[in-house]
């Protein structure tokens, strides 16, 4: 019960932060949605990092590592450590400058102005919103699951999800971007402190990591988890495309507009890779070594389910395999290790840290609210007709309505649907990244090229989803080859998803084709007028934007 009390104390603190931020608000749209572009370098670094770290960074990464081994770090952490700061350096700084110069609040406003379009901007909004929704639902589900686990079942899933949704809604409602940024700063500080503490405490509890790793190396079942021998190189390479999605996520792009000075990006760009190591290395390593914690009954049950799946999976019915997969999933191994090895008071603090991780849907809800009020409500005349105060209140009403919608979706739909949708979401946002690159760096890009990118992204994401729905995942063993040509497996259904063109994940061809469409369609169509281009690419005191 003590861990649950610590978590509730933490939740009270974040609500207070939201109310405190509310006292600083001026009632203007730019203040509510962008904190008046006033964030200093440390808040900007910590809150941007916290915004990027969803529930997946802590619970999902250790769960993935529990099942797949050390490869998780290379797949998701080190690739992001290079690509995300690079995109912040190249794209984020330019978004900041445009926002500061022309007062932009959302990426769609930039696209509409840059390519002289209206409804194409609305199409971009619709696709971005559709791809973002599953992340918010997953956040509510993560909150429910975590509170249920931390309280030992005293707080049921529906109540935990409701508490988390209510808390997030409250501080976003009251505090807007300022409250969200402050809460994210606190969350990142908690992650950074507790990652190392959790590693030390659990390591000591397990009798030392050297012993745990030696046990794994001596076991034929676990030794491959310490290498990447089960992961095809092309699959590993494909993951370097996923972090391109980061800057294309509206909540990240919007966040780039909140810095007081462009110099705030300097610390963020340099320290981002270091924060990745500090948080992901403990999470991944603990996830891997959890395989040796057979003295924890729940972990032993997971290992048993995995073993059954590997030995008898091909003989089982599809539904039975899915049940075993759910039993073998490791998203709660970190919580289980904490419950087993950490002293009660520390488990409470660490539980609060984990709670902070699963509440990362705040900035996504705020981003959707910002986009709705700016790109739809204000764009189609609402702001001019009703004024700025009504616009901000519309944004707040949207936060409430959307959180309630996400909560009921979380209660009524199977989690795997949203897990899968999130999987497609990364691909979708990576495929949208050429929009930003073309808008900021290529004069010749056009609105028709942008429309081609958006239509292609939506089509590709739906096509991959439909393919995976129509062709069921094969049992453990060889994958299902659907189309083979020129001696290459062009389209394959694997146990974990889809592989194309000899082993790539769909994100690679989908993103490359998206860039090719932007290029080819733009060349065939009329570019924006010279006046617009001059504002975006003028010689600014000797340099171009």
């Amino acid at each position: 019960m003590i861990p649950a009390l610590a978590v509730f104390a933490y939740l009270a603190v974040v609500v207070y932060i939201g109310v405190f931020a509310f006292r600083r608000t001026s009632g203007q749209a730019e203040d509510y949605f962008l904190a008046s572009r006033s964030l200093g370098p440390y808040v900007f670094l910590l809150s941007l990092f916290g915004t990027n770290m969803t529930a997946f960074a802590i619970l999902g990464s250790s769960g993935h590592a529990f099942q797949n081994g050390v490869v998780t770090f290379g797949l998701m952490a080190s690739s992001s450590a290079l690509v995300i700061p690079l995109t912040l350096y190249l794209v984020g700084t330019r978004l900041w400058a445009l926002g500061k110069r022309y007062g932009f609040i959302t990426p769609v406003q930039i696209f509409r102005d840059r390519w002289e379009c209206g409804h194409i901007g609305t199409a971009i909004f619709v696709v971005q919103a559709a791809l973002l929704f599953p992340y918010i639902v997953i956040g509510v589900m993560g909150g429910g699951t975590t509170l249920e686990a931390i309280s030992g079942g005293l707080v049921p899933f529906w109540a935990g999800g409701a508490v988390v949704a209510l808390v997030v809604m409250s501080y976003v409602f009251f505090g807007g971007m300022r409250g969200t940024a402050w809460v994210n700063t606190l969350q990142t500080t908690l992650f950074l402190c507790f990652g190392a503490v959790a590693l030390a405490v659990i390591g000591a509890g397990m009798g030392g990591f050297d012993r745990a790793v030696k046990t794994m190396m001596d076991s034929p079942a676990f030794a491959p988890l310490l290498t990447r021998e089960r992961v095809p190189p092309l699959y590993f390479f494909s993951y370097t495309f996923i972090p391109l999605s980061s800057i294309a996520f509206p909540h990240i792009a919007i966040f780039c507009l909140t810095a007081r000075k462009m110099a705030s990006f300097k610390k963020t760009v340099i320290f981002y890779p270091l924060c990745m190591v500090a948080i992901w290395l403990p999470a991944v390593f603990l996830g891997v070594t959890a395989n040796t914690a057979g003295d924890v009954p729940e972990i032993r049950a997971k290992l048993e389910a995995r073993r059954t799946l590997a030995t008898e999976g091909s003989r089982l019915e599809f539904a039975e395999r899915e049940t075993l997969k759910a039993q073998a999933a490791g998203d709660d191994v970190l919580l289980l290790l904490l419950n087993k090895y950490a002293p009660l008071w520390l488990a409470g603090l660490l539980g609060a840290g984990i709670m902070a991780a699963v509440m990362a849907s705040d900035s996504q809800i705020l981003a959707l609210s910002t986009m709705f009020t700016e790109d739809v409500f204000a764009y189609y005349g609402g702001k001019a007709r009703f004024g700025e105060t009504v616009q901000v209140n519309t944004g707040r009403a949207f936060v409430v309505a959307f959180t309630v919608l996400a909560y009921f979706a979380a209660l009524n739909a199977p989690q795997r649907i949203f897990d899968t949708a999130v999987q497609y979401g990364f691909t979708g946002y990576s495929a949208l990244s050429p929009l930003l690159a073309a808008a900021l760096f290529w004069k010749r890009s056009t609105k028709w090229g942008a429309l081609a990118v958006v239509v292609w992204t939506a089509t590709a994401v739906v096509a991959v989803a439909a393919f995976q729905a129509m062709v069921p995942a094969p049992p453990p063993g060889p994958p299902t080859v659907v189309w083979r040509a020129f001696g290459i497996d062009m389209l394959v259904r694997t146990a974990g998803g889809t592989a194309v063109l000899g082993g790539f994940m769909p994100v690679v061809p989908v993103t490359l084709l998206s860039a090719a469409l932007m290029w080819s369609v733009s060349l065939l169509t009329q570019p924006p007028g010279k006046g617009t281009l001059a504002r975006y690419f003028r010689q600014a005191r000797g340099s171009e934007l």
Binding site: S78, L86, Y89, A97, G103, M217, L226, E229, M262
Partner: protein, 83 residues
């Protein structure tokens, strides 16, 4: 520092992510418990931080901020008209 060198640095680091050489081995265990492939990617993150420092130090697009400040000084505070 030559910007071309920095660009080469980015490309080289991107390529180094695909470390075939530690693909199938966990040994040596760094510090007695860390598989070498995992250690490599942790060091890779530190190298990425170093590269970002070089980019900031030698290729920072300061003109973007100078331009914004210049325009704010000329036209007072607030955003410029988009039209």
């Amino acid at each position: 520092m030559n910007r071309l060198l920095l660009l080469v640095g980015v490309v080289v680091l991107y390529v180094l992510h695909q470390d075939y050489w530690f693909w199938r081995t966990a040994r040596p265990l760094v510090f007695g418990f860390l598989p070498v492939g995992l250690f490599y990617h942790a060091v890779y993150c530190l190298a990425a931080a170093g590269l970002m420092w070089l980019l900031i130090r030698y290729a920072w697009p300061a003109y973007l901020e100078e331009d914004v400040e210049h325009r704010e000084n000329v036209s007072g505070t607030g955003a410029e008209d988009r039209s």
